[in-house]
């Protein structure tokens, strides 16, 4: 499904601040795989996502999605196939538009006719039903401006916007990190629910190693722009938190420096 070959990205090349964010990275995802990504700060996790989304073009390497070469495809074109939820709840929604207008905007990906009315009765019923699945009471606030919602509620709206037209690839960039633990757990449940229902190919960055091992079907660990560990199946099922941290130290010759990782409780 997603095929990344020898991807390299260097920031501030030929200056004192030169930084290799992605170092000849290769990764291959099968259809329907749910991969969690862990790694310390600056490991290149978000850079990988940005490269896949087209926020910038990589210096070298190839990215193919569903057989199509998207390495140099403009961001707005590839976002037709890729849904992305950010850590910052502000980023994924338009605050001055209502809940249903935001979802309609995302839904317009599936529809033709740019001058058709964005909201009709049938779509509105569809959005309402989709939101009611999440059990957050949002289906009764369809005419509320998204700017008035809490961070968790906004992330739910963003998740629905990214998946109402099932994308070929779903990218979750620490999308629960800015939320309190209870809400964060709830959003993770909703995420699992959506991913399973649509059998979405998903990449999720998480700061929480426990959650990384429990969620999805495969876990990769990144360091200095490279993948240093890639586990799935039985090996992953038996892996404990401490074993994973041990492996990290062995392979990267450093101790995990991300406090948030160890403190996560869900």
């Amino acid at each position: 499904m997603l095929e990344i070959k020898n991807l390299t990205k260097v920031f501030a090349k030929d200056t004192v601040n030169e930084h290799t964010a992605l170092d000849n990275l290769s990764l291959s995802l099968d259809k329907g795989e749910f991969v969690t990504i862990v790694g310390s700060n600056g490991a290149g996790k978000s850079t990988l996502f940005n490269a896949v989304c087209g926020t910038f073009f990589a210096d070298s390497g190839r990215i193919t999605l569903d057989g199509e070469d998207i390495t140099y495809m403009p961001e707005h074109k590839r976002s037709k196939m890729i849904g992305r939820v950010f850590q910052d709840p502000m980023k994924g929604t338009s605050p001055n538009l209502t809940i249903e207008e935001n979802i309609a905007l995302a839904y317009s990906r599936a529809k033709h006719g740019p001058l058709g009315f964005a909201l009709n009765r049938r779509d509105m019923a569809l959005f309402r039903e989709a939101l009611s699945d999440f059990d957050m009471g949002l289906e009764n606030r369809m005419k509320t401006k998204v700017g008035l919602l809490s961070g968790g509620q906004r992330q739910v709206v963003t998740l629905l916007m990214c998946t109402i037209v099932p994308p070929k690839l779903l990218l979750l960039d620490e999308h629960t990190a800015a939320l309190d633990p209870a809400t964060s757990g709830k959003i993770m449940d909703i995420t699992n629910n959506i991913v399973n229902k649509n059998a979405l190919t998903t990449l999720m960055i998480t700061h929480n190693i426990n959650s990384a091992l429990k969620t999805g079907t495969r876990t990769i660990m990144m360091d200095s722009g490279r993948i240093i560990l890639d586990i799935s199946g039985d090996e992953r099922g038996k892996m404990s938190l401490n074993e994973l941290l041990e492996l990290y130290s062995q392979r990267s010759n450093k101790v995990f420096d991300n406090d948030r990782m160890l403190l996560g409780d869900n």
Binding site: C53, E75, A106, S108, A118
Partner: protein, 301 residues
């Protein structure tokens, strides 16, 4: 009575300007100076074509001219990455000689003997009277423009335009070409503004090359007054509010002109002060809140 009717007529026509400014300033979040040039462009095109006997084509051509001007500003902003305000200024000053050329090289043009939409309407509906026709014609044009815009902003494209001003990153991530949306919004806004110029010149039977000066501030003042009167909730109401704001603004100006010491040249100063005060209200509120926190803090110190 003359004062009331005159203000109402001008207020309705300048409501078009307020609609255009609302699109660029409130929806797109850009104070777009193109309007000073596109307003005059609409006015010049409409006056020149009325002079040669085509007032209706004049209005249509005026709109198209304004949309083209807005489109160029959009192109400069998005493709050439020129600062939005500078892009507007470039188009505005570039339009000056073009407008002069359209007016036939002279800085003004009288339409006393030319056919205009207002004279046509007066001839067709004599029972309405002079002011009656003027109000009817301007009301019809402004209401149609507002209705078309209100409908446009409910379409897929319209929604995308609104979201672009609100959260550009999200729009790009939703597979929408944000640059295209900006160009579209600038074209739409300047099209309505040029329509305003096109109608106003036929209304006053006169075109002047300097009519565009100060239109941005004037439009902003109308938009802001409208927002005070109708607290904006949804977009259709906001569009109506901009037109109502324009009418109220005209009444305020007409009343001010009654004062013995008030000269018409003060108008721009008054508009500028209204806009400056209205736009600084959030900062004043923040400051007041901070002062309050400080006072409370000292009590417990």
């Amino acid at each position: 009575m003359v004062l009331v009717l005159g203000s109402l007529e001008l207020g309705i026509i300048y409501g078009l300007l307020a609609l255009g400014i609302f699109i660029t300033f409130r929806i797109l979040n850009i104070p777009d100076l193109t309007c000073e040039g596109s307003f005059t462009l609409g006015l010049a095109v409409s006056a020149a074509l009325s002079c040669s006997g085509h007032p209706y084509i004049g209005i249509i051509a005026g709109i198209i001219g304004g949309m083209a001007a807005g489109g160029i500003t959009g192109f400069l902003q998005t493709r050439c990455k020129i600062h939005p305000i500078l892009a507007g200024i470039l188009v505005m000053s570039g339009l000056y000689p073009i407008n002069l050329l359209i007016l036939g090289g002279s800085p003004n043009l009288a339409l006393i003997d030319s056919q205009t939409i207002f004279k046509d309407a007066a001839a067709a509906m004599p029972f309405l009277g002079d002011d009656g026709t003027k109000i009817a014609v301007s009301l019809i044009i402004t209401v149609i423009a507002a209705a078309v815009l209100a409908m446009f902003f409910k379409t897929h494209t319209g929604l995308a335009v609104r979201a672009t001003g609100d959260n550009e990153d999200m729009v790009r991530a939703s597979s929408i070409n944000a640059d295209k949306m900006k160009v579209l919004a600038l074209a739409a806004g300047n099209g309505v503004i040029a329509l305003c110029g096109a109608v106003i010149t036929q209304y006053q039977n006169y075109a002047d090359i300097n009519s565009g000066a100060g239109t941005l501030v004037l439009g902003l003042a109308s938009v802001i007054i409208g927002e005070v009167i109708i607290f904006r909730r949804d977009l259709t109401l906001s569009l109506a509010a901009a037109v109502i704001g324009s009418i109220v603004y005209r009444f305020i100006i007409a009343l001010a002109m009654k004062l013995p010491f008030f000269d018409s040249s003060y108008l721009k100063l008054v508009s500028a002060v209204i806009v400056a005060i209205a736009l600084s209200i959030p900062a004043i509120k923040d400051r007041a809140a901070l002062m309050k926190v400080k006072r409370e803090g000292e009590k417990n110190a």
